[in-house]
């Protein structure tokens, strides 16, 4: 008993400071799973037209009887796949003038392996967004890549959308409610001029000390 008491006495309540490091890797904004599934339903409805168009296009190119197809209007406002969306976002970040500006990026984060592919997206979407157009990063629920594959016929985990009239209003509202990406260490980075001003005053003129004289005195 004595030994246990001795251990209890040694312990003492201490408050340790816990500081969150603002410079860690940026993360995907949190979205509730019910809203995620709603967004996926809207997206699949949009992608159905594109899937049908592309499959018909491939059949027309193979067969001898070529027929003209009407291009779905949304195809000009959408990017499918990693390379095309990243290229658009990068050129947006560098401030190049563009016809189509991406404002929503939908990523199947849970389905894409390895996670290395999606790790840079939060910072990229932050750098691509301007004051007027904030790029919203939306993560889709697990298993959504297979649903998209059924509709499109291709495996596509990363989709970029621009704000257009062709998207339904309810879909735009849902996407706009998603919180912005936050990267604290990149906020407010601009070259600030050093704050230097000149004050006009007077100063006494101090006479210069002759080192030689002192030396001579010392020698004597």
């Amino acid at each position: 008993m004595n030994s246990i008491k001795a251990v209890e006495k040694k312990k003492k309540q201490v408050f340790k400071p816990l500081l969150d490091n603002p410079f860690t890797q940026a993360q995907f904004p949190r979205i509730e799973p019910s809203i995620q599934s709603q967004i996926l339903d809207f997206l699949i409805h949009i992608l159905e037209d594109i899937g049908k168009y592309e499959s018909l296009k491939s059949t027309s190119s193979k067969s001898n009887n070529k027929f003209t197809l009407e291009k779905p209007e949304i195809l000009d406002h959408i990017t499918l796949g990693f390379n095309s969306t990243v290229q658009k976002l990068e050129s947006q970040a560098q401030g190049k003038p563009q016809k189509q500006i991406i404002s929503y990026v939908l990523v199947c984060k849970a389905d894409i392996q390895p996670s290395l592919i999606t790790s840079q997206f939060p910072v990229l979407s932050y750098t691509a967004s301007s004051e007027h157009n904030k790029v919203k990063l939306v993560q889709l629920p697990k298993g959504s890549i297979e649903k998209i594959e059924k509709v499109l016929g291709k495996k596509n985990g990363i989709i970029g959308l621009s704000k257009t009239e062709f998207l339904p209003n309810a879909f735009i509202k849902l996407l706009d409610d998603v919180p912005n990406v936050e990267v604290p260490w990149l906020e407010n980075i601009r070259f600030v001029k050093p704050n230097i001003k000149l004050l006009e005053t007077t100063a006494t003129i101090a006479p210069k000390k002759d080192k030689n004289k002192n030396n001579k005195v010392g020698k004597k």
Binding site: G51, S55, S58, T59, N83, Q120, G153
Partner: protein
């Protein structure tokens, strides 16, 4: 309380991120940070992996879109010979897939190997369920081809039916029979 070593490492890590607009400063801070890690024999966790966050050549901090460009590239396939192309159709084979980060300051490229795709990404797997119209697949043989073939055959037959040719064929047959019989038949073996 944290030891001074841990504090030192954390502070140097924060310093790298403090001046993202001046790339030279970040590279200097990063070098110091790497030196500390080397001295203490420490390995960073996977999320803060050295190759992922910093350029290996100029030690700069990667900021995608501004400082860094990323792309998925496939390795090129070898071109097959012309003869093979005519006979066999191109078969899709999985190619190596690499994620490449290019630093825009020094143009250094870092490579990460990814998984190979299982399916051909250019192929579209949707089947449209409309009824297919009936199309005759066989081709009727044209009469001109038939005539040509028959004329050739007839000419060959005429040549073969010459007396000289027939005699030569007979001789050849006889010789072949003799060769076979020499080896196998008992009677001829006894005669010899």
């Amino acid at each position: 309380m944290e030891s001074t070593n841990v504090k030192n490492i954390k502070h140097s890590y924060d310093l790298i991120h403090s001046t993202p607009q001046v790339s030279e400063l970040t590279s200097i801070y990063n070098k110091k940070f790497q030196n500390i890690l080397q001295k203490k024999n420490l390995i960073l966790p996977n999320q803060l992996n050295n190759e992922l966050k910093f350029c290996q050549n100029c030690n700069g901090l990667f900021i995608p879109g501004i400082n860094m460009k990323m792309e998925i590239k496939y390795t090129k396939t070898k071109k097959s010979k012309k003869q093979e192309k005519k006979v066999v159709k191109k078969q899709w084979k999985p190619r190596d897939r690499n994620l490449i980060y290019t630093c825009l300051l020094c143009n250094y490229k870092t490579k990460f190997e990814l998984l190979k795709p299982e399916k051909n990404p250019n192929e579209i797997g949707i089947d449209i369920k409309d009824k297919e119209p009936f199309i005759a697949k066989w081709e009727p043989k044209s009469q001109e081809d038939k005539k040509k073939n028959s004329a050739k055959d007839r000419a060959k037959k005429r040549k073969k039916n010459n007396l000289l040719n027939l005699l030569q064929d007979k001789k050849l047959k006889d010789e072949q029979d003799k060769k076979k019989s020499n080896l196998l038949s008992l009677d001829e073996f006894m005669k010899s």
